[in-house]
């Protein structure tokens, strides 16, 4: 036989016992050519395109699940940033389009549709402001629409006027939804990639073709499996083992992504090799770090361990695919990762340590519940801190905070399903108000002058 029994069983065991799956296939769709002065026609063109391609995406993905025996967990759609396509429309157009996108996603069997957002790193147009103002309405009245805002970049610096607005917008969204759930569908970025397949931040960037099929592989469980088996090797050896594993799962992702794109007759975009945790115990990134020898995620050494882990994943992934893109970092969402959640509960992990972790490897402060009475300027300041790391270091960073109404530090909150459960994190009681309210634009760092 061309393959040894051990090779075949290695792949089989990954799917049967280590939760190996394709986390998401996300079809990016250009909506610029749907723009029409008549909002009714505009919405109807958007609805038809999204439902048509959405249904096909779900059907074709299902066929490949059968063919390869690897579950494809989420089938999603990202669209052109909505603020761009509503520039010439009336004030209520963003909200109306959001309702259309929500209905189209539901009718096509798509669980989340991304792209309700704007790129405002240097300033806001009138349409951008309309969209930002509509976020509380949209995120409290729709079910499947995900929103994003890019407010900083290495080239442009950071739009602090937008950051000020976000503090109040995020609190407003939280106040209008149970347990602040609306905030779980809203991500704020610096250096947001245009081809990210993961929600809530996915959008179909302006440099993209009409369609682009992007795939997010997953493999915390598989990586955990090999780390668990290799308790005695040194860190060089461990890096090598993780690298080999990442190579294999990226190759599987690339195969499925390319075939799905061909079957849909759309261009293949990228493979995002992020380690994306889920609420399953065996699917925790924190769990991998702990198996590496850290007693509890957040203890000294966690940053180094996570840096080694994602570096090995990137090296394996880069060898396996010429199309690595999207976020391709480690996700360390607190509520969605059982190990992260335990570390918060036991006092091992603070928001300051989470910020440090994002400096070397991960993509941001993700799914963190904070007290409902956190001042809006403090929320803006946390966003500014996190995004500064991205702006200065030329990497993507994002923030998804949930100020849970009526809850204080240490309280428990359950967001339900894949969004998980968590404990409210303690936030510094000292004020950043006077700094944040200065507004303006943080200039781009000197590292941006590369020409």
């Amino acid at each position: 036989m061309e393959y040894s029994l051990e090779e075949v069983m290695e792949t089989v065991k990954m799917t049967l016992y280590d939760n190996f799956d394709i986390r998401t296939v996300t079809l990016g769709i250009n909506l610029k050519d749907c723009i029409n002065p008549d909002l009714g026609i505009f919405k109807s063109k958007v609805y038809e395109r999204v439902t048509d391609y959405g249904k096909r995406l779900v059907t074709e993905a299902g066929k490949l699940e059968d063919k390869y025996g690897i579950p494809i967990i989420n089938k999603r759609i990202s669209v052109t940033p909505v603020s761009l396509i509503t520039e010439s429309c009336a004030d209520d157009a963003p909200l109306e389009l959001a309702v259309t996108l929500d209905k189209a996603a539901r009718d096509a069997g798509i669980d989340f549709i991304g792209g309700y957002g704007a790129l405002v790193q240097k300033g806001m147009t009138k349409a951008d402001e309309q969209l930002i103002n509509s976020l509380p309405d949209v995120l409290s009245s729709t079910e499947r629409v995900c929103a994003f805002l890019n407010v900083g970049s290495t080239v442009s610096g950071m739009n602090m006027d937008a950051v000020i607005k976000l503090g109040t917008v995020i609190k407003d969204i939280a106040g209008r939804t149970d347990n602040g759930l609306g905030c779980t569908k809203f991500a704020v970025f610096s250096n947001a990639p245009e081809d990210n397949p993961f929600m809530a931040g996915a959008f179909h960037g302006i440099g993209e073709p009409d369609f682009s099929l992007n795939i997010g592989i997953s493999g915390p469980g598989v990586v955990r499996g090999v780390v668990e088996k290799n308790t005695k090797c040194d860190l060089t050896g461990l890096s090598e083992i993780v690298k080999r594993t990442a190579f294999k799962i990226t190759r599987a992702g690339e195969l499925i992504g390319r075939e799905l794109a061909a079957n849909l007759n759309v261009p293949f975009g990228i493979v995002d090799i992020s380690l994306a945790s889920t609420t399953k115990v065996g699917d925790s990134v924190a769990g991998i770090v702990e198996l590496m020898g850290i007693e509890r995620m957040g203890a000294p050494g966690s940053t180094a361990a996570l840096a080694l882990l994602i570096d090995a994943v990137k090296k394996g992934g880069a060898m396996a695919s010429g199309n690595v893109g999207g976020l391709s970092g480690t996700f360390i969402p607190v509520s969605e990762d059982s190990g992260m959640n335990r570390a918060v509960r036991e006092g091992a992990l603070s928001i300051e340590k989470l910020e440090a972790l994002t400096a070397v490897c991960s993509v941001g402060l993700d799914m963190i519940a904070i007290p409902g009475d956190t001042p809006s300027e403090t929320i803006s300041a946390i966003i500014a801190d996190e995004l500064s790391i991205g702006v200065v270091n030329g990497k993507t960073t994002g923030v998804r905070l949930i100020p849970v109404p009526g809850k204080k530090a240490g309280d428990y909150v359950n967001f339900g399903g894949l969004l998980g459960e968590t404990y409210i994190m303690e936030i510094s009681r000292f004020s950043s108000r006077d700094f944040i309210l200065r507004g303006g634009r943080m200039p781009s760092p000197v590292t941006s002058m590369r020409n």
């Binding site: 393959y3 029994l5 051990e6 069983m9 066929k63 390869y68 690339e254 195969l255």
Partner: protein, 92 residues
């Protein structure tokens, strides 16, 4: 004609009739068995069967549903996966 190869893999407790029942199921759908390997790994019986589906009219999804009956009856784990996934993961 180009082959359409799948791996049927079985993990479980060794017992009489595993290969017989699976062979019978694939034969019924005109699927040719190309190769077979089996051994005891970590106390479990494991078997890989390489089968060519090019002359068969059945879809992989439907074959899986039929094999699921054997899975339940005999307390086994049975997977059916197209050969391409093994090529992608184990061959450069």
């Amino acid at each position: 004609m180009t082959k359409d190869l799948v791996f049927i893999t079985v993990i479980g407790k060794d017992q009489k009739g595993i290969i017989a029942r699976i062979s019978n199921a694939v034969f019924k759908h005109n699927i040719n068995i190309e190769d077979l390997d089996q051994k005891i790994m970590g106390g479990y019986f494991v078997m890989t069967m390489l089968a060519d589906m090019s002359d068969s009219g059945i879809m992989i999804g439907d074959l899986k549903k039929e094999l699921a009956q054997i899975e339940t009856d005999m307390g086994l784990k049975i997977q059916v996966q197209h050969e391409n996934i093994f090529k992608a993961m184990h061959r450069v």
